[in-house]
C-alpha cells in the first residue's frame, strides 16, 4: 500500500475528487495548506506600505491506495490538476506499513 500526498491548486479540488471517485477511490483526506515554491506570491498594499504575500493557498490531498492502483491514481491527479502554469503542485508517494479502518478494525487493503 502507498500513501499518495498531492499538493494542488485549490480550485482543482472538486475536479480531482470527481476523477478519483470515478476510479473507485473511496476516501480522501484534504487539508488547506500554504505553499512556497517557484510560483511567486503577489504584492498587497495597506495604508501606503507594500508587502509581499510569499505563501500561496494550496490544497493537500492524502490518499491511501493499494499498490495496484498507484499508477492510475497518480496519473489521474496529474491529468486533472494540471493547468500547465507554474504552481500546479507536487505529488509525493510514501510506503504504507499498514492501514486500519477504525470503525471495524480491518487492516491492510480492505481498510482503504
Amino acid at each position: 500500500m502507498k500513501l499518495v500526498t498531492a499538493v494542488i491548486k485549490p480550485f482543482k479540488l472538486e475536479e480531482v475528487r470527481e476523477a478519483l471517485s470515478g476510479l473507485g477511490v473511496s476516501g480522501i483526506t484534504v487539508t488547506e495548506v500554504k505553499g512556497f515554491g517557484r510560483q511567486k506570491g503577489h504584492t498587497e498594499l495597506y495604508r501606503g506600505a507594500e508587502y509581499t504575500v510569499d505563501f500561496l493557498p494550496k490544497t493537500k490531498l492524502e490518499i491511501g491506495v493499494d499498490d495496484g492502483q498507484l499508477d492510475e491514481v497518480v496519473n489521474t491527479i496529474i491529468s486533472t490538476a494540471q493547468t500547465g502554469k507554474i504552481g500546479d503542485g507536487k505529488i509525493f508517494v510514501t510506503e504504507l506499513v499498514n492501514a486500519i479502518r477504525i470503525r471495524t478494525g480491518e487492516a491492510g487493503a480492505e481498510a482503504l
Binding site: P10, F11, E32, H42, E44, L45, Y46, L56, P57
Partner: protein, 417 residues
Amino acid sequence: MEQLLELSYALDTFYFLMSGALVMWMAAGFSMLEAGMVRAKNTAEILTKNISLFAIACIAYMLVGYNIMYPAEAVSQYWPGISFLLGADNTTEAVTAGGDDAPYYSGMSDFFFQVVFVATAMSIVSGAVAERMKLWAFLTFALVFTAFIYPLQGFWKWGGGFLQESGFSDFAGSGVVHMCGAAAALAGVLLLGARRGKYGADGSVKPMPGANMPLATLGTFILWMGWFGFNGGSELKISNVEEANAVALIFVNTNLAAAGGVVAALLTVRLIWGKADLTMALNGALAGLVAITAEPLTPTPLLATLFGGLGGVLVVFSIITLDRLKLDDPVGAISVHGVVGILGLLLVPLTNTDANFGSQLLGIAAIFGWTFFASLILWGLLKGIVGIRVSEQEEYEGVDLSECGIEAYPEFTKPGI
C-alpha cells in the same frame, strides 16, 4: 404669533433634520447588509463602493441634482432645466409673514432630507452588481445617476412634473426611490452577467452564501430604523395635531409592515423548504418596508401589516424566479426594491381614494422606462469604453485584492480559497 411661527418653523426643521439623519444612517444599513451577503473576498470592495457612492451622491446632488429635481422654475412638465448649487435659506420675514405660502421649514433641511434619498436609491444598485463589477466604472455610473438620471424622474413626481399632475401617488418613494434604484440595478445586471459559476449549464443554481450573517442582520435593523425617518419625514410637517397624528401613524404602519414582511417571508420559506432561511426573513422585512412606502398614511395598522406581509411573500418568489431567469442579484435588491416597489405602488388605490390604478401604472411605466433605458445606455457606454466587469482571474481571487489591495478579514479566511 410671530414667535409661535418661528418656534413651529424650528420644530419642523428639527423634525426634518432628525428624519434626514435617520435616512443617512440607512447608508450604513445598506453597507452592512451587502457586506454580510457577499463572500469574504469581495467584502472590502463592496464597503468601498458603499461609502464612496454615498459621498459622490451627496456632492453630485448638491452641485446639480437637487436643482434638477426641484427647479425654481421648470422649463416644462417634462424637463426642469439645469442650474447649479444651493440657494439662500428662508428669511425670518418670509416665515413670520404667515399664511399658506410662508415657508415652514428650513430650505437647507429640505436639501439634507432629499440628498439622503438619492443616496438610498444609489445604494440599491451596489448590492445587485456586487462581486464582479469594476469599482471605478461603478462610481462613474453613480455620479451620473445621482446628478441626473434619478433627479429627472424625481422632478416628474415630487418636483411638480407631469407625474404629479397626472395623479400618480407615491408618498415616500416606493417608485421614485426604490423602483428607480432597482431599474438601474437591473440594467446593470443584464449587461454584466451572472457571477462565474453561479448557474450551471444544466440550469442548476449554485449557492454562494454570504460571509457574515450578523452583519446582514444588523444592516436590516439599521434600515428598519432609518425607515422611520424615510417615511416619517416624508409627511414634511409635524407641527400641529393633525400632522403629528399623521407622523405617528406613519411610524406605526411602517413598523408593522416590516413586521408583517418578516413573518410572511419566514412562513413562506418554512412551508416550501422546511427551514427558516434567515436571509429571506431579512429580505422580508425590507420588502414589507418597501411595500408600505408608497402609502404609509391611509392604511389602518392591520392593513399595513397585511400589505407588508404581501411584500414578504412576493419577495421570496421573486428571488427564486430571478434566479431561474439567471439574473444574478447577490443581495436580492431587484426583488426587494423593484418587484415589491411596484406592488407598493399598486396597493395605494386600495386605501387612498385620491389615487387610481391608471395613474399608478403610468408612473411605474415612466419611472421604470426612463431609469432602465437611461441606465442601460450609460452602463453600455461604460462597458464599451472602460469595461464594467473584472477579469476572470480577479473575480476568482476576489475583487478586494484587485480593486482595493486589501482583504476585509485577513486573519479569518485564506485568500483565494
